[in-house]
Amino acid sequence: MIPAAFEYVRAHSIDEAIAHLQQHGGDARVLAGGQSLIPAMRFRLARPAVLVDINSVRDLSYLRASDGVLEIGATSRDSDVERAGWIGDRRWSLIHDVSRVVADPVVRQMGTVVGSLCHNDPSGDWTTAALASRAEVVVRGKAGARTVPIDEFLVDSFTTAVGEGEMAVAARFPKPDDRTAGSYQKIERKVGDFATAAAAVQISLNADGTVRAAGIALSAAGPCALRVDEAERLLVGREPRDETIRAAADAASRRSAPQADLRGGVDYKKHLAGVLVARGLRQALARLGARA
């Protein structure tokens, strides 16, 4: 299908993009990778009157590690993350896992991390990983920039804290310490399909082997990517033994509130949420050389 007609403007700077967004308000959408937006427009699920193309804004395509933060610019592609030189470091293992399973390898050469966060699909991968790694999103408007914690950024299905006349310019992932590892576990019917269920896990250990910090989040488990705070609380301060992992998995399964669809029924998907959290925790611990 062909999208509805729209006006196309190309921005060459962030200020120019924001000026266009200010001018057109809620009728305008930012075009970055377009790998979610263009299909939505083709199905007429989205009918923006104006697209502001930010792909010619030079200073938005970067991966930058500074101040203990990995910052990903708004036009950096999923494949840029997947191919980054540092991605093999186990502390980035959650990000690495996600970068290899978002959509399919061709879509990842256009799709962007920040665009995926802004799209906020209930079955998104980056949204779920951002929750588990306690990321932030830098949002720019006329008055300047503000940094929004991911839990506040993800408002509801396909809705974020980005207001009219604003745009997200970067995602910031805190740099994990060297006793941190993660894992992303995703069940999909085929490469490129939306997740049937998925879980993002990031875990940091103290020197004595107890859990210092835990991030646990689910995809395709409700209207929005979902933090399982009960599972996080269960883990922190404890040794990550089998019974603790099982308790965290059970908490995830209870918290999951999926919709039945062609990918599976509610009971099946709730079961998967628990299985995937347990697998994720075990893989993260294995990556740390710790035994569950």
């Binding site: 729209f6 006006e7 377009g34 263009i38 050469q109």
Partner: protein
């Protein structure tokens, strides 16, 4: 909107509606019909072209206006005159196609893959082509074809997995 796009080294200047998708621009406005429309929903990879030298893109999920000022390579731009590109020759030699509908997308995805990974393992190739569907070959001969091309292009193949 007036756009200037370089397709396989030739300059094209056309006036397009912003909503024109790149694949339709290539086929209908520029007469380059080697790029196929398959699923039309960015699932199948038949319409893959290479943008700016090394990026494989599903041309049903990019607007023609986004190609303004950029270089597009399609299947028509692989052969050098009468000499097939090593990827095309390899698909011929290894029977990497049957009906041929997915082949332009397979070739261009593999082209970009080999730019980034000149000596892929079989697993690398299978992962790299996971966004391209073939309903004929069972993929086995496509993997062999890409391996042959990697060898021909002058890079020793890594151990096959």
């Amino acid at each position: 909107m007036k756009i200037h796009v370089t397709i396989n080294g030739a300059a094209y200047e056309r006036d397009v509606e912003p909503r024109t998708l790149l694949v339709h621009f290539l086929r209908d406005d520029c007469g380059q019909t080697g790029t196929h429309v398959g699923c039309d929903t960015s699932s199948c990879g038949c319409c893959v072209v290479v943008v700016d030298g090394d990026r494989a893109v599903k041309s049903c999920t990019m607007f023609a206006v986004q190609a303004d000022g950029r270089e597009i390579r399609t299947v028509e731009g692989l052969a050098d005159g009468g000499t097939l590109h090593p990827l095309q020759q390899a698909f011929w030699d290894q029977h990497g196609l049957q009906c041929g509908y997915c082949t332009p997308g397979m070739l261009l995805t593999a082209y970009a893959l080999l730019k980034h990974n000149p000596a892929p393992t079989d697993a690398d190739i299978r992962e790299g082509l996971a966004g391209n569907l073939c309903r004929c070959t069972g993929y086995q001969n496509i993997v062999k074809s890409v391996q042959q091309a990697a060898g021909t292009l002058g890079h020793p193949s890594a151990a096959t997995a």
